[in-house]
């Protein structure tokens, strides 16, 4: 058995090693794949705060992923067309600067998470799963019908947005940006777990009645977790849009919410590195199985079933020999 601390160190190093190797072997597509895994991991790291620590099974996290994506899409769309963005009486200029886009993505998704969380947290269990799904569907259908920004067709951004001092069009440089963001999110996650808030949230998942009797409000703790979680997933959405230079309503789809949960469960619910391991495996599986057969979804399904039935605690759980937190 391996200590979780070693995994926490080894996984990011491995994720870093793959594109570095690809750079030397001149396989730029592998770098793109690693970037995709990194961004999906970031989204799942966000979800894992709500899911793994807070116990909130959100089947609507695609909302935040999509909002982040559209924040990027809309700002860059106005910048590339040199048209102003008008919200009511206010007029903004579009932008192609990643830091500004990130800030907007984080703020917008945090606000959405606050609203959705405040309404959804009135329910629990299956109802919570379903009401978050309902919000996801609302955003999905809204985006499809919103023809000003492409509707179902989505929005294409022809050139990747810029980051001061970098050429983000070079795959390895964009990977580096995403990797650093992921590491920061992981550090935030680790810090959160050990903090007073993390302790209280962790207890709110396991014994909400206890948390109440020591004078704390478990709902508010969970809401805060939901907001932080949504904000990180939103940031991932903005990066994902930049990776593809494209946003579309499919970023809001319930299948995407489901995939984010899948990533976490494959890796290990509530584990710091669970989402990262899960995202890497998922992208690798997708790539490898997809090349093997047209019907690769069948085998993906079989692998997933195997993990749920026989590897509780996910891959990290298998490696450390410890079951994960109970959600």
């Amino acid at each position: 058995m391996i200590g979780e601390r070693w995994i926490n160190l080894a996984v990011p190093l491995a994720l870093l090693a793959v594109p570095l190797y690809a750079l030397m072997a001149d396989e730029p597509f592998t770098i793109t794949l690693a970037t995709r895994a990194t961004i999906l991991a970031l989204a799942a790291v966000g979800l894992n705060i709500a899911l793994g620590i807070g116990g909130l099974v959100s089947l609507g996290h695609a909302v935040f992923f999509g909002l982040g994506g559209y924040a990027m899409g809309i700002l860059a769309f106005h910048a590339q067309n040199y048209s102003p963005l008008e919200i009511g009486p206010l007029t903004f200029a579009g932008t192609k600067s990643m830091p500004v886009i990130w800030l907007v993505a984080v703020i917008v998704s945090a606000m959405a998470a606050l609203l959705i969380g405040a309404l959804s947290l009135r329910t629990s269990g299956v109802y919570f799963i379903m009401i978050t799904l309902a919000f996801g569907q609302m955003f999905y259908y809204f985006a499809i019908s919103w023809s000003a920004y492409g509707g179902e067709d989505g929005l294409s951004i022809y050139v990747r947005n810029g980051f001061p001092g970098l050429n983000t069009l070079v795959p390895i440089q964009f990977f580096a940006v995403c990797f650093v963001v992921l590491c920061l999110a992981l550090a935030l996650n680790a810090m959160l777990r050990a903090s007073p808030f993390g302790l209280a949230l962790n207890a709110a998942r396991q014994v909400p009645q206890r948390v109440e009797t020591v004078g704390l409000n478990p709902m508010r703790l969970k809401l805060m977790a939901f907001v932080i979680s949504g904000a990180i997933t939103g940031l991932a959405g903005a990066l994902f849009a930049d990776l593809n230079r494209f946003v579309s309503p499919s970023m809001f789809s319930w299948q995407l919410s489901g995939e984010l949960i899948i990533l976490i469960v494959i890796g290990g619910v509530g584990r710091l590195m669970g989402p990262v391991v899960g995202a890497c495996l998922f992208v690798a599986l997708e790539h490898w199985l997809g090349g093997l057969t047209d019907f690769w979804h069948v085998w993906l399904g079989v692998v997933l079933l195997g993990i749920v039935l026989f590897a509780r605690g996910g891959v990290v759980g298998l490696l450390t020999g410890k079951a994960g937190p109970h959600v």
Partner: protein, 306 residues
């Protein structure tokens, strides 16, 4: 807008709702008795439709096709229950969501493997095709009337089953207390398989009935699945009565919203934009309805209080 048209649209909403009920009843029954969230319920709907299309193609008989749909879906349900689902009853919701999501992948692509990528043919039998004229001069398709009839009959049948039969007593006892049922000497795992197969059979029947007027294709179960979940959540998970009321509510909201919302927006917007905005809002209407219901009653209309 004439009264006749409104009456026809209400009938359409009812018919849609009644079909949703066939899906939702199984889903809510399975949740009520076993506490299981079954995302793969839509796959069983698809299995029913494909079985019906295959049998109708081979024999030309619509009734045989319906029987085949029921049987195939129930059988698929029973097998899935015994091989996979059985291991999930004690598992947290998260694992259930995931495992049944995996089953969707397997069912969908497996079906495509067997039947190919093109939609299958399944049509209304001659003796049910064409419109009939109802009182008030409404010309309404006979088949859709038949659907309403079948749906109501199934609803009545389910009520009778749960309220009046030995199996029903076991089901209701199972909802309340598993150990109690086991202590009464009922073979609990057989009961679960039976309930799962019953729910699956209903989904398969719905798939076949609807498949005759829609397209029998891979992935047809997923949109219906989401709607069925909306229905049971609105009605209160585990409640057959709730599923029935919820199904009608969703059916009517979806159908009437699609017609009246664009008209409503035309009162103060130019027609093109009104149609688009109205349609957009109509497609979100049932989800808005669902979140309103849940914010008002967090356990649905007829759900047990948490």
């Amino acid at each position: 807008m004439s009264l006749v048209l409104i009456a026809e649209q209400v009938l359409n909403g009812l018919q849609f709702g009644v079909m949703l009920f066939l899906m939702a009843a199984g889903l809510t029954l399975i949740f009520g008795v076993m506490g299981l969230i079954n995302l793969a319920h839509g796959s069983l709907y698809m299995v029913g439709a494909f079985a019906a299309a295959a049998v109708a193609g081979a024999t030309g008989s619509f009734l045989l096709a319906l029987v085949a749909a029921l049987a195939a879906a129930a059988l698929a349900g029973a097998i899935v229950e015994m091989v996979v689902i059985r291991r999930l009853y004690a598992a947290p919701h998260l694992d259930q969501v995931l495992a049944t999501f995996a089953l969707i992948l397997i069912f969908s692509e497996g079906t495509r493997w067997v039947f190919g990528s093109f939609p299958l043919y399944l049509d209304i039998p001659d003796w049910l095709s064409g419109p009939v004229t109802l009182p008030g001069g409404i010309a309404y398709p006979l088949y859709r009337l038949a659907l309403i009839g079948v749906g109501l009959a199934v609803a009545a049948g389910l009520w009778w089953l749960t309220a009046r039969t030995r199996l029903g007593i076991q089901i209701r006892a199972g909802e309340n207390d598993r150990e109690m049922v086991a202590a009464l000497g009922v073979d609990i795992s057989r009961l679960y398989t039976l309930v799962f197969a019953l729910g699956a059979g209903l989904a398969g029947l719905a798939g076949a009935l609807v498949g005759a007027i829609q397209s029998v294709q891979v992935g047809m179960g997923e949109p219906v699945l989401i709607l069925a979940f909306v229905v049971i959540v609105i009605g209160g998970i585990g409640s057959i009565k709730g599923a029935f009321i919820g199904a009608l509510l969703v059916g009517l909201t979806d159908t009437l919203g699609g017609i009246f919302l664009p008209e409503l927006f035309k009162l103060f917007m130019e027609p093109g934009a009104a149609t688009q905005t109205g349609s957009a809002l109509a497609s979100m209407a049932i989800y808005i309805l669902m979140s309103l219901v849940l914010v008002w009653r967090p356990s649905g209309l007829f759900g047990a209080r948490a």
